[in-house]
Amino acid sequence: MKIKLQSLDEKRDIRRIDPELMRLAASYAKQRTRTELKSRTGTFKSTTLPRMTRDAYLSVFHPDDETIKRPAEPPARDISPFEALGAMLLGVSAGFGLEAAAFVGALAAMWLVFGLARGDGSWTQTRLLLTGVIVAAGCGSAVALMLSLAPDQQLRGMLFWLMGDASQAGNPIFVLLILLAGLLLALFFARELNLLTRGPLLAATLGANVGRLRLVLYFLASLLTAAAVTSVGSVGFVGLVVPHLVRLALGNDQRLLLPAATLAGGALLTLADTLARSVIAPQQLPVGVLTALIGVPVFLFLLARSPRLEHA
């Protein structure tokens, strides 16, 4: 069976896959698994090993930045693996708007994490962290499962998208409007965010409506992450490293930090994307790989330099 779409490097192609195609892909994968089982040793090296590498890739790039991020950042930002899952699951199978699917996926994951972590009515940082890691691991495996079931021609595109790939980003107006609206809304609550960094108790005594503030933040973070992920895939480390860098330069006032981190994040991504397009031209790299390559050492340096940033 010849598959219509030749390459799925474009996110739009992922969106366009029709259910018919998915069924074909599934049966193809099933068939392949059967063949694999039959010829035990022969195909082990050729199919299983690359798949393991792929899974390792995913776990390195996605659930892990979850672990590092969560204690320091408002937890709401760490949802790109969930986003990816939401986008792939809903967007691929049902074929409705990818952006909406990612948003729904992010909200669902957020609801799941905070719902489960809450338990007896109060959640602790540790419990939140663990729940987040576990749910992220679950989503990561679901993404890996979908990759295993996907036809080989699509794998490259899916992988690139999962690593963050700006090469296919389309008209930015819609996403830009969401970003501006989100930034304005965040700035509206900026001083209350400052309060929240001193702990929910102090924030509440100083007049912040902590419950409502959290709801707004979770919603906003889901929306913004969905907008970002559907444009350029799940680019890692921009959201992790940039706010910390800006924080070192400007201090902790969210009224400055929010717009500054937005600009600096965009600048870093532009820089990384320029490199991704030119380093081994004419071939392009996924930009997420470069941001991670820059992000990991920078973040480790920051951690080593000021341990309190993360653990105070």
Partner: protein
Amino acid sequence: MRTIKRKSVRTAHPAETALLNARNLAVSIGGKQVVRGLNLALQPGDRLVLLGRNGVGKTTLLHTLAGLRAPDSGEIELSGQTYAALGPRRAAQLRGLLPQHQGDAFAASVLETVLIGRHPHLSRWDWESTADEHLAREALAAVGLAELAARSIHTLSGGERQRVALATLLVQAPKLYLLDEPLAHLDLNHQIAVLELASRRAREGNAALAMVLHDVNLAAHFSDQALLLHGEGEHELGASAAVLDAARLSRLYGHPLREIRDETRRWFVPVMPK
């Protein structure tokens, strides 16, 4: 339940003028009763001390009075209005809480930390003005930390951070001060200074104090009313001079205390094991 009536002219005032008015309050946490049937009114200038063993629910009661958690039953009014009617912002202008633990997740300067206290007095898009900064520097001077304004909060000692938290509360300038262990981590001189500062605020600023203390002698000296929490919801409330005696305190802490007097003052000292 024994409740000793205060013999004070203030009780003649109608209850509506009270800064804090709690009626028939029942509070519990995790199935444990903290108080039952508590009636408490604090007028401007009043200083109330909460005493009780560890884990009896002093902090829980203080948080309930601050409107941060709902009581099981009963009503709490701040200047004649419930917390629900006031809303969080107006409530924050009227009452302030010194929390038991200071959490500062991210680095900030001491001055920035203190300026946070102005939040309820600023409108949404306002930035802190020079007047606010002036207030913050005054508050820092009042707690003896004027020189540390530019330092990072993370470089301070436990006692210094406690005083920064107190300065934050001072710039919030509420009418009702709820202090949860204000003397934690403080040296003796700072303990007295903090209690004097709070008493002065109550006297001159027409504010009321409710504070959790562990030192019964400081409690006896710096309070007008005392609320003893005996556990199981049992409490005693009354004028400090009447409620604080060796028998009650011995029962409260489960350890014998003796009273020592001179002409003007009395002290409670624990009986030391042989």
